[in-house]
């Protein structure tokens, strides 16, 4: 008799497909999260030390320029958060990855917090430098719109009871909102803005001196590690939360039958 491939034990799929099993994903998170927390703390400590003590002061702004080491990385990360959500949205709608909706749901509050941090640090930096807490120029307005969209997606997640339907609705909204990301990035080039033009990610390379650029990039790496640490921990929490919920529902069903 011919041995068909279906009777042989299948090897576990590798890569992202392999992580589709929540139990395997939880095992991976449990193994790597302590290391991630440690590395994040170390890079943050190193980055802050570099930023606060080693990097030079600006010849015009003095020590106030050091708000940049919080403001710029959180701005980059707020856009990366929406990018992560967009990829997760594609995972939900196109590839039907089981953990894609968990990734999308948990990335939203972290991205919203980072956007809020960006707006607040920018506002506090603007008061001494520009003389105003807020101005309606293209960059600030488009980041504020991003913050509103983050809050809208979080509201959408909480307004639909069935998480699978919420996942698909939020996925569509996330992909539509991704249009805002290039607008934010190029807003300082397309319009005359009070916010300064692109200094790092631009054609022709960065225009910042290395003594300031290196600590900035270290802080960016620290913030990125922070995002993924928080994201993985939040995904673990969400998976456990859903398991608790289904156990409670089974319990209620059993009690009803008795």
């Amino acid at each position: 008799m011919l041995e068909t491939t279906s009777s042989l034990p299948k090897a576990a799929p590798s890569g992202l497909r392999g992580l589709a099993n929540p139990t395997r994903f939880l095992a991976l998170v449990d193994a790597t999260l302590p290391w991630l927390i440690g590395i994040t703390a170390l890079v943050f400590a190193f980055g802050l030390a570099q930023a606060l003590f080693v990097a030079p002061e600006d010849y015009q702004q003095g020590a106030t320029v050091k708000i940049m080491y919080l403001h710029v990385p959180s701005a980059w990360l707020s856009m990366m958060g929406w990018t992560v959500m967009s990829i997760a949205a594609l995972g939900t709608l196109v590839w039907r990855h089981p953990l894609a909706d968990v990734a999308a749901k948990t990335a939203a509050p972290i991205g919203a917090a980072l956007t809020f941090l960006c707006l607040v640090t920018g506002s506090l930096w603007g008061r001494p430098m520009w003389g105003t807490y807020w101005v309606w120029d293209a960059r600030l307005t488009s980041v504020l719109v991003l913050f509103l969209m983050y809050l809208g997606v979080i509201a959408l997640w909480h307004s639909v009871e069935d998480q699978a339907r919420a996942a698909r609705a939020a996925a569509v909204l996330t992909l539509v909102g991704a249009v805002n990301l290039p607008i934010i990035k190029f807003s300082v080039d397309w319009w005359n803005t009070l916010h300064q033009p692109a200094s790092v990610f631009r054609m022709g390379g960065p225009t910042i001196a290395p003594s300031i650029l290196i600590p900035l990039l270290i802080m960016a790496v620290a913030f990125t590690l922070l995002f993924f640490t928080l994201h993985l921990a939040a995904m673990r929490n969400e998976i456990l939360r859903r398991r608790v919920r289904s156990l409670l529902m089974q319990q209620a069903e059993a009690a009803q039958r008795d």
Binding site: G152, V172, N180
Partner: protein, 221 residues
């Protein structure tokens, strides 16, 4: 009479007969424009300067509130499932529904705008500019609002959440509509520059909106 033509006529007839038809949007528009001088004060120069902005915000809110039930009403009586089984591509069906909505709810707003501009003491070049920008911009508002209307089918409660989700996406249309109107009234910028960008935004919403709304409708269960 093709199926799409029949759908268009059905939607136009329903929109005209239910809930006050096209007039309710105009009435809401009128109420907002009436409220504003009570809040801002009767200073005619100030109203003239801010007039295009108020007209645009009024038109935006009026079209958002009428869009809410676009798909949800069909979902409630079961006709959405039949419409979705049509042989035509879902995106085209959605564009037909958006066209019906624009003809019944959007066009009256555009026609009412110059009349309401008189209440705000806007001079004729400004009124012509506002009307023209609204003519081009209300299709964009309809098409972007379609996405929210399709999501409202999933939501059951809809309403204010749909407005929260859709208003950030309509901000560029609002910005360029008001900029074009102000350019025609006073500014050094020629009217054509923001106006062409507004046209581009409308065409982009025609390209993106139906696809996003179709995705939302296909995933509504």
């Amino acid at each position: 009479m093709t199926g799409l033509g029949a759908l268009l006529l059905r939607d136009i007839r329903l929109a005209l007969r239910l809930g006050g038809g096209g007039w309710i949007g105009v009435l809401f528009f009128l109420i907002i424009i009436t409220l504003i001088p009570f809040a801002v004060g009767p200073d005619l120069a100030l109203l003239r300067r801010l007039g295009p902005a108020f007209l645009w915000i009024g038109a935006l809110l009026a079209s958002l509130l009428t869009l809410d039930r676009l798909f949800a009403a069909d979902h409630d009586d079961g006709s959405l499932d039949i419409i979705l089984m049509a042989p035509a591509p879902l995106e085209i069906v959605i564009v037909i529904k958006a066209l019906a909505h624009f003809l019944v709810n959007g066009l009256p707003l555009v026609v009412a705008a110059p009349v309401l501009g008189l209440l705000l003491n806007i001079e004729p070049p400004g009124m012509a500019a506002v009307t023209l920008t609204l003519m081009v911009g209300t299709p964009a508002l309809t098409l972007i609002g379609l996405v929210g209307a399709a999501l409202a089918v999933t939501l059951r409660r809809g309403g204010i959440l749909v407005a929260v989700l859709i208003l950030p996406l309509t901000i560029p249309v609002l910005i360029f509509g008001v900029t074009a109107s102000n350019a025609a009234m006073s500014g050094p910028v020629p009217f054509g520059t923001p106006f062409t960008i507004l046209c581009a935004l409308s065409l982009a919403s025609l390209a993106i909106g139906p696809f996003a709304a179709a995705a939302a409708l296909r995933n509504r269960e």
